[in-house]
Amino acid sequence: MSGKLPERSPLLRRHASVVTAVVYSAVVFLVTGACWLFASNVDQLFPGEQFIQSAAMDEWRPTDEHLHVFAGGFWRVGAFWRSVNLTVVTATITMLIAAAVGIPAAYALSRYKVPGRSIIDVLFSSVIVLPTASVGLCLVILMQHTPVLKELHLVYSLPGIVAVQLVVATAMGISAWKAAFDGVNERFEHVARSLGSGPWRAFRTVTLPCAKPGLIAGLILAWTRAAAEFGGVLIFCSTFAERPEASFSPMTRLLHLHQADPLAVSMWSQIEYGNVEYGTAIGFMLVFISAASVYAIHRLGGKTYVW
């Protein structure tokens, strides 16, 4: 065969560019869609006339008047910063617990021949696509109808937030960490073992450093998923923002975790009350937090899909 490639006829060339056009337009659709989704709501940050008027007529809400300014004046509202504080603190605690249990579990699933491994894999990954309402509900029933767990008084309490977030964050984390461990060649550990290391030492000095980017990506994923938990927290813990201050322990008040809801719940609650500007500001704060997570994961070269 001669080195000359057959010439592409004009017809075929046009079809090639059609395909490229389709492909590019799909990307453009996604990018513009994402931009427009967030940009078009910026005008909701500015107070609308009818809200100001109706708020003035509302005898329930004289204290909410100050929220009908640009972005609800969120920087002045103490509850907003307490919400941020609560979200960050609970998500971090959840991430740490999930890592403490999940990283060893992911390692075992990745390396050892655990009986029923494929079924366990299926079960863990299906927790991620479970509706959050079901998760919250099942947790309530489990907590209240099991004698030991009932005494923990987790339902409708602040530690309950961590419990709900833990359910999905662990599953998500295990998925990511297992993928990270799968990406480390087993031979490195075998060589370390053959040179005299115990399994723990081989794990600590060989596997962990190799898998570190994937592990950190998994940590960030678990953290973000925990911070974004809305449905489960709503059903399991209800809201905290309107509870009297005295019902929170002094330690909670010291840490500024009292009378605040996680950000997603707070956003929904404020929109229901009609404080649209404030709610939109909280929404944008959530977007900002998620964008920071996505950026962090990308910097680590990790993946945001965990299959």
Binding site: A108, S126, V129, A133, T146
Partner: protein
């Protein structure tokens, strides 16, 4: 030293304790698996025990339940189809082509996956009620609100970026050299796609479709904020869990939860069977 004395020297003195230590870590790791497994199984078994098989049979016999299950299944299917229409080309582009400002673009595409769906639903409500989308919809006679179109729209918006990412992973697994060889042998781009790339990525695409379907079928937070907590034509299964919980009807609610669990496990089992995780060669 005599030869007999040599026999008594311990060559590896710490062997016994090291063996015990050597088991500790694997045991702990497997123990963690067992702990997490116990948690999830207890969650589901506890609810089944709470409901009782008798009640379960009663509630599974109600027409209301199956109307909602069917609504969930078909709306998730339609929105998955739409996500595929956008996701497969976009995934291919992300995988093979060099996009302008790649870091910013990929971050923007990843964002809707990580933002809480409640926020996405709220922002979507804003998009649909403002210029220009509202006027375009009015012109085209489309109405997205308290109807199944609204459900499909919310599910689509929440899953399209997710689908793109999964498709990108699928196409990443296909070695581009195959395509390059095919092009060098004279096939055009569409033919290469049709006969080389897509068949090689077939398993990944199928598995990703099932995952996207499962994610769409579990979407309700965005729907709740978009539609506004109304009972009516938009009662997909996860949303009905919230609505009936609001009415303190624990029997149907736990039944819906159990069915959602069954759907999720079935989807992930199907993904495992399709074997989308395996590489092409």
């Amino acid at each position: 030293m005599s030869i007999e004395a040599l026999d008594t020297i311990e060559v590896f003195p710490a062997e016994k304790s090291r063996r015990w230590q050597a088991v500790l870590w694997p045991a702990a790791a497997v123990g963690c698996v067992a702990l997490v497994l116990l948690g999830y199984v207890a969650l589901m078994a506890g609810n089944l025990a709470y409901l009782g098989l008798g009640d379960l049979t009663v509630f599974l016999g109600t027409r209301r339940l199956w109307v909602r299950v069917w609504l969930t299944v078909w709306t998730a299917a339609v929105s998955t189809l739409l996500s595929l229409v956008v996701g497969i080309p976009a995934g291919y582009a992300l995988s093979r082509l060099r996009l302008p400002w790649p870091k910013f673009t990929t971050m923007l595409i990843d964002l809707p996956v990580m933002v809480p769906p409640a926020a996405v639903g709220f922002f979507l409500f804003g998009v649909m009620t403002r210029f220009p989308v509202r006027h375009l919809c009015e012109l085209a006679g489309l109405r997205f609100g308290h109807n199944s179109s609204g459900v499909v729209l919310v599910q689509f918006v929440v899953t399209v970026a997710f689908c793109t990412r999964l498709m990108k992973a699928g196409f990443d697994a296909v070695n581009p050299r195959f395509e390059q060889v095919s092009r060098s042998l004279g096939a055009s781009l569409p033919t290469t796609l049709r006969r080389v790339t897509l068949p090689l990525a077939k398993n990944a695409i199928l598995a990703s479709t099932v995952i996207v379907w499962a994610r769409a079928a579990a979407e309700w937070e965005g729907l709740m904020i978009f539609v506004g907590g109304t009972m009516g034509r938009t009662d997909v299964l996860p949303f009905s869990v919230y609505l009936d919980w609001n009415g303190a009807l624990y029997g149907p609610v736990v039944t819906y939860s159990l069915i959602s669990v069954a759907l999720a496990v079935a989807s992930m089992g199907a993904v495992r069977l399709i074997g989308g995780k395996k590489y092409v060669w």
